[in-house]
Amino acid sequence: MTDPLAWLILLPLFWATGAFLLGPGRGARLAIAGVAVQLWLAFALAAKVGAGGTAPAGSAASMGTAIKHAIGGWGAPLGIDLAADGLTAVMLLLTQGVALPLLLFARGYFAGDSAAVRYFWPLTGFLLAGFNALFLAADLFNLYVTLELVGLAAVGMVAMSGTAAQIAAALRYLFATLIGSGMYLLGVALIYGAYGTVSIVTLTPLVNADAPTAVKIAGGLMLLGLMLKTALFPFHYWLPPAHGGAPAPVSALLSALVVKASFYLILRLWTGPFAPLADAVAWLPALLGSAAILWGSWQAIRAVRLKMLVAWSTVAQLGYLFLIFPLLGADGLALQAGGMQVVAHGLAKAAMFAAVGVLIHVTGRDAVADVAGAASRMPVTLFAFGLAGVTLMGLPPSGGFLAKWLLIEAALAQGQWWMVAVILSGGLLAAVYVFRVLRQAFLLVPNERRHRFAKSAPLLEWMAFALAAASVLVGLRGMEIVRLLGAVA
């Protein structure tokens, strides 16, 4: 176990295959053990990256001086390189850190209906392998393969339990993700045609020196395709039915991690090879992001079903990530804000879907109105929902607060007042939809004839709580993450 980079990719592939061979029972134990080791590997990698010096995060140099692994010993551009810097380390930590409690949650959640979820464990393994491979990749074509691995695994998990509505949602999602990766791949094809290489490190100086029209088109195509995969407004149409319709552990993985993977790639390309092309259009993602915050929050406030509320909240929270693009400057503030928001939202949204999963499990219903009086039965779950809500609203001391604080600071430094207004109103709207649920749960007395509460499962409740608590506590340890984001080994 000397090389965390390689093992972070190999290990989930091994246990995914193992889980397929062994079946769901032993597969689940294998998966959980595997993810625990991966978490340890991610910490080891973060320590290694953090021990190096610091440089402005996301600067063109950061990919070039990161920890590297030349697969096959050839080295780019002939071979494929893996590379890890601070941003990679944070994403890897988040992925394994969210996955471990969610897998424990899933084991309890799926207990007793093994037929529908026979393939949950191997699919999760491929999904996690896809994430880790994507975060570590430094080669545009290799990134395409990892994007497909993540996308197809996610679609499969949405479709897994197989009602007509879920299959339809999965198909909508599948076509969106396939068009997205098709556009990305055409971009890769044009880049290869223009420069003869797809290695990011080799490419960056070449694009800086000369970018013909075909490369500009390539950049546009790749950005558009990835925005479609990230469900940025107005490409969000596929997200609510897919995330709102899947089983709770799957929704949590999708909202916390899958959409972040394509966002990470946009950020990587934007601050790396396409940096010279990006300045002219940086306002566009920010504008769409603002629209996403307002529209997503509004739909969450209107939602009838509990899971749809949480799914629309994801559309809104993704908007914040795109506000950073016009603000990316030498001070690295905007990148830190983006990284913090990814981490805080990842943990909070996993917690929220887990909590909602428990609520639906216990009440047997999926309407916001049906949680009336649930607080007295499931205080831990409702507390978890509330804590996750604190992060989404951006109240101190949560990770969400730190993210929004850094974002406002970056916006003020560049005189973008309108952005501050959007961020603050987004927080207020989040408060409205979070309190809509909490008000039902805490204040209203249930109609006992209408509601029969099933017995709750403490393991599920406490896993949701652990994730929610982490989303708040990460704000207290925020400076370490910020420092890691700026670290270059």
Binding site: T2, D3, A6, L10, L13, F14, A16, T17, F20, L21, H69, A70, I71, G72, G73, W74, P77, L78, G79, I80, L82, R118, Y119, P122, L123, F126, A129, A133, F141, N142, V145, T146, E148, L149, L152, A153, V155, G156, A159, M160, G162, I167, L190, Y192, G193, A194, Y195, G196, T197, T202, L206, D210, P212, T213, A214, K216, I217
Partner: protein, 214 residues
């Protein structure tokens, strides 16, 4: 409303295609010449055919993940296809049966040839695996192979075996200092081992995509 949307989209698409074509014509020659690098390192790659060298050595990691994608697709097919009946194809025509009896041995031979040829000329695990898969489908259509229901443990080993061998080799070679870093003297043998295992598994997976679906 809808025709208008269609028309706008089609116009936008045509404009985009025209722009793209114009941009491709204006491209200067590329800076990096990877074909030359491939040619320069061919003798250390363990195979004499450039495309095989790229697929299994220089960019072997892509191929590893891609087999993962294929296995994943099979898992999803298994997960969403209901697992009840699958009687096997009914009442096959005698002509088809006879055709299958003649063609399948030839196809097995062709698969073996393609696998071996991949080291020197066009061919390799994918093409050989596809022929194997096609042979299985033909047997099924002729009623000589029963339909597949839930995969048994043995079939699961067959489906995942090629991927596992590839993974195991990749992991074992970490001892050489890097993922998939073949020692030059053993590269040829290891690539052949991986390709042989992949051929069988690819054949089963591709056949499975058809047989589990139908």
């Amino acid at each position: 409303m809808k025709p208008l949307k269609h028309l706008t989209l089609i116009l936008a698409a045509s404009a985009f295609a025209a722009l793209l074509i114009a941009a491709m014509f204006a491209l200067p020659p590329p800076t990096v010449n990877l074909a030359a690098s491939v040619a320069a390192d061919m003798d250390r790659s363990g195979t004499a055919h450039p495309v095989t060298a790229v697929l299994l050595n220089f960019r072997g990691y892509d191929t590893l993940l891609e087999i993962g994608v294929l296995l994943l697709a099979l898992l999803v097919v298994l997960a969403v296809s209901p697992r009840e009946q699958h009687a096997g194809s009914a009442a096959a025509e005698p002509v088809l049966q006879m055709l299958a009896r003649i063609a399948v041995p030839l196809m097995l031979l062709a698969a073996g040839y393609l696998l071996w040829a991949g080291a020197y000329r066009p061919g390799g695990a994918f093409q050989a695996g596809a022929v194997l898969g096609a042979a299985a489908v033909l047997l099924f259509l002729a009623g000589l192979l029963p339909g597949w229901n839930a995969p048994t443990l043995r079939l699961r080993w067959g489906l995942a075996g090629g991927f596992l061998v590839f993974l195991a080799v990749a992991a074992a070679l970490l001892g050489q200092g890097a993922l998939l870093r073949y020692p030059p003297e053993a590269a040829g043998a290891l690539i052949l081992l991986i390709e042989a295992a992949l051929t069988v598994s690819l054949g089963l997976i591709l056949a499975g995509l058809f047989l589990f679906l139908s």
